[in-house]
Chain length 397, copies 2
C-alpha cells in the first residue's frame, strides 16, 4: 500500500495530470487551417444554426461527457473540495476513454450549493452529450440529478448512486444463479441509505425483490422514525421499497440482520461481526463494500460463514466495481442519442454484466467479470443501446 501511494504520486507527477485535449484533424498548413478554422468553419456553424441537431453531425458534442463534481464526497476522503478532487475526476475521464472511447472532461465546481450547481450544469451543457455527476454528497446529489434529468434533454447519471447499484444487482443475479436461489426469495439488509444505498434499494425493488430493509447511522429505518429522515429514506419507506420491521426488540443492525440471507454494505467500516454473519440464514451473501475499509473484513466474513462475498477492493475477489457499468452505459446511451438514462437501461446493464460469466463458469469467487474483459463494454453498450432504441420506438424517451 505504501508502495502504491508512492507509485501513484510518481505517475501523476511524471505526466503532470492524466488528460489532454487532442485534435482529431490535421492542422499542418494554411489549407488545413482554412477548413478546420476560419473561414471554412463558418459552414458547420451555419448548418447548426439552421438545425440544432446538426451539432451531433459536425461537433464532438455527441461523444463528450462532463464529469461534474463539487468535491463534497470524494472516494472515502469526504468533502475535500473541487481542487483536491480533480485527480479523481481526471481518472474517471480516462476510464471513460480507455474502456468505451467516450470523451469525458472534468468540471470541478467551486460551489457546493445544489441550485447553483444545477444552474451551472444547465448553462454549460451545450458542449456536452451527457452529464456524469460524481462524488457529490447525499441527499443533495439526488435532488441535483432529478432536476437535471427533468430540465436537460441529454443523459444525466450520478455514478455513485446508480453505477454501484447496477453492478451490485449483476452480482446478486449471478449469486442466485450459482446457488439456485430466486431473486424474489432474497431477504436483504442494506446498510447505508445515501447515494449508493438508496439507488441499490430502488434497483433491487425494480427487478422484483420485495424484502429489503434499510439501516444507517440513525439505526434501522423504521416507519416510527419517519420524520427524522431525509427525503431519501422517507421516499423509500413511502414507496415500500424499504420494509419497516415492526417486530424488532432493539433498533440495531445485529437484530435486523438475523435470519436474512443478504447483507449489502455501502456505509462504514467494522460494523458487522462474525457472530452477526452466523446469525443470518445459511450461506448468506455478504457484499461489504465500504472503501477502503469494509463493514467486515473478507477473512471475518469467511469465518462467519459467508458463502459469497463481494467487496469494494481490487485485491479481493468479486469487486463490485463501477467501471463495469458506466463506460458501456454511456457508450450505448450516446450511440442511441438517448435523452435520459432510464431504470430499464440500468436493469439491462446489470443483466448484460451478469451474462458475461456462463452458468458453468460461475464460482463463489467469480460472480463478477473483470473490468478488462472486453465483452463487458460491448454487451452493456449493446443492451443499453437496444433498450434506448426500443423506448424511442415507444416514444417514452
Amino acid at each position: 500500500m505504501k508502495d502504491m501511494r508512492k507509485r501513484s504520486l510518481e505517475l501523476h507527477e511524471k505526466h503532470i495530470g492524466k488528460i489532454e485535449v487532442k485534435s482529431k484533424v490535421s492542422v499542418k498548413n494554411s489549407d488545413d487551417l482554412s477548413l478546420a478554422y476560419s473561414p471554412g468553419v463558418a459552414e458547420p456553424c451555419l448548418e447548426i444554426k439552421k438545425d440544432i441537431n446538426n451539432i451531433y453531425k459536425y461537433t464532438s458534442k455527441g461523444n463528450m461527457v462532463a464529469i461534474v463534481s463539487d468535491g463534497s464526497a470524494v472516494l472515502g476522503l469526504g468533502n475535500i473540495g473541487p481542487y483536491a478532487g480533480l485527480p479523481v475526476m481526471e481518472g474517471k475521464a480516462i476510464l471513460f476513454k480507455e474502456f468505451a472511447n467516450v470523451d469525458a472532461f472534468p468540471i470541478m465546481l467551486d460551489t457546493q450549493d445544489p441550485d447553483e450547481i444545477i444552474d451551472i450544469v444547465k448553462n454549460i451543457s451545450p458542449t456536452f452529450g451527457g452529464i456524469n455527476l460524481e462524488d457529490i454528497n447525499a441527499p443533495k446529489c439526488v435532488y441535483i440529478e432529478r432536476r437535471l434529468k427533468k430540465e436537460l434533454n441529454i443523459p444525466v447519471f450520478h455514478d455513485d448512486q446508480h453505477g454501484t447499484a447496477i453492478v451490485t444487482l449483476a452480482a446478486l443475479i449471478n449469486a442466485c444463479t450459482l446457488t439456485k436461489r430466486k431473486l424474489e426469495d432474497l431477504h436483504i439488509v442494506i446498510s447505508g441509505t445515501g447515494a449508493a444505498g438508496s439507488s441499490i434499494a430502488k434497483l433491487l425493488h425494480e427487478i422484483g425483490i420485495k424484502n429489503i430493509y434499510g439501516y444507517n447511522k440513525q439505526g434501522v429505518i423504521l416507519d416510527s422514525k419517519y420524520n427524522e429522515y431525509s427525503f431519501l429514506e422517507q421516499e423509500l419507506l413511502d414507496n415500500e421499497i424499504f420494509l419497516s420491521p415492526n417486530n424488532l426488540k432493539e433498533d440495531s443492525l445485529k437484530e435486523l440482520i438475523k435470519d436474512k440471507n443478504v447483507f449489502i454494505g455501502v456505509s462504514a467500516k467494522n460494523i458487522v461481526t462474525k457472530d452477526m454473519i452466523k446469525s443470518m440464514s445459511k450461506d448468506p451473501f455478504i457484499f461489504a463494500m465500504a472503501n477502503p475499509d469494509p463493514e467486515i473484513t473478507y477473512e471475518d466474513a469467511v469465518a462467519g460463514g459467508a458463502y459469497i462475498i463481494g467487496t469494494g477492493r481490487s485485491d479481493y475477489p468479486n469487486q463490485i466495481n463501477n467501471v463495469l457499468a458506466f463506460p458501456g452505459l454511456f457508450r450505448g446511451a450516446l450511440d442511441a442519442r438517448a435523452t435520459m438514462i432510464t431504470e430499464s437501461m440500468k436493469l439491462a446493464s446489470s443483466k448484460a454484466i451478469a451474462s458475461i460469466i456462463a452458468k458453468e463458469e460461475l464460482k463463489t469467487t467469480y460472480i463478477i467479470p473483470s473490468p478488462f474483459d472486453k465483452r463487458v463494454v460491448e454487451r452493456v453498450s449493446k443492451a443499453v443501446y437496444d433498450e434506448a432504441i426500443r423506448l424511442k420506438g415507444n416514444k417514452s424517451v
Copy 2:
C-alpha cells in the same frame, strides 16, 4: 470558396467534431487502474488538500485553458448562440494544441448575461490554468474580462480584443522598420471601437503612439458626442487614447482619414474608397481587416496608393492572424504560472512576432510571419515567460 465550404463540412462530418480527450497514462490492467484511479489516486488528492499549489504538480490544470463563449459574436456570423458557435471553439482548441501544446476545452454558455457568465466562469475555474474568452460581443466582453481578471488568480484573456491588437502592433512595428518611419510619427485612424478596435487603440497608445483617432457607426469619436458612447469609447476619450479632432468640417471617415498615414479597420465592409486612400499622406499603411469582406478590397487599396496592406484573410499577403499570438502567449504565461496577462506581456508578444522577420527580409508584402513558422510560438512564449518572471521578481504579478 464553394469548394472550401463543401470540404469543411466533409471534414467536420468525417471526424464528428475536432477534439477528443485522451489519457496520458496507460490503463491496461488492474495495477494501472489502482495507480491512476482508486485507491492510488487518493494520494495526489491528499497532497493537493494539504497544499493547493500541488494541483499544478499532479493534475492537468496547469496546461488546461477554457475557451469560453456565449456565441454572441462568432466570426463574422454575429449572435448565432452557443450551439452553432461550438465548431469555432473546437477549432480554437485544436489551434492551442497544435501550435503550442496547450490543452484547451470549449465551454459554450447557454446564457448571454454578463454577470451570470462571470459567476459560471469563476465557479468552473478549478479545472483550468487559464481562461480564453472568445466571440463574446462588445462592450459586454470588456466588462466580463475585467471582472474575471480581478477576481481570478489565473490568466484571463479575451482573444478578440487583444490577439488582434498584438498582431496589428507587430505589423506596424515591421511596417515602420521597412519604411524607416518612427511609431510615434504615425497618425492613425481606427475604424471600429468594439472589442478589437478598443484594444488596438490601447496597445498602440501603450507603446507610445499619440495620434490615434476613432471612428465607428456613429461617426468620428468626438468629445462633443461623449454621452452617446458606451463606456469603451468614453474611456478611450477620457484617457486621451483617442484624440478628438475638433477642426472637422464634417463628421465623416472621409474627412477624418485625410492626411493620416495609417488606417486600421476592424469594422465593416466597403467603407473606404480609393479616393479616400489618395487623400491620405503619401504611402500610407492600410490594414483593412473586416472579415470576410474588408473595409476596402486589396485591389482598390493598391490602386489608391496604399504602400503596405494588411488583411484579415489568408488568401492575401500580411494576414493579421490571431494565431500568431494566443498560442505562444498562453504557453509562456502557463509555463511561468503567471496570474494575469499584462499590457507588458502583450507588448512583448508584439515585439517577438515582429522580430521573426529580419530587417533585410522585410517587404511590403511580408511584414508578418507565417503562423506555421515554428519560431513564432518559441519567441512569443519565451518573451511572455521572461516578462512574467520579471514581474514576479518585482512582485507586481
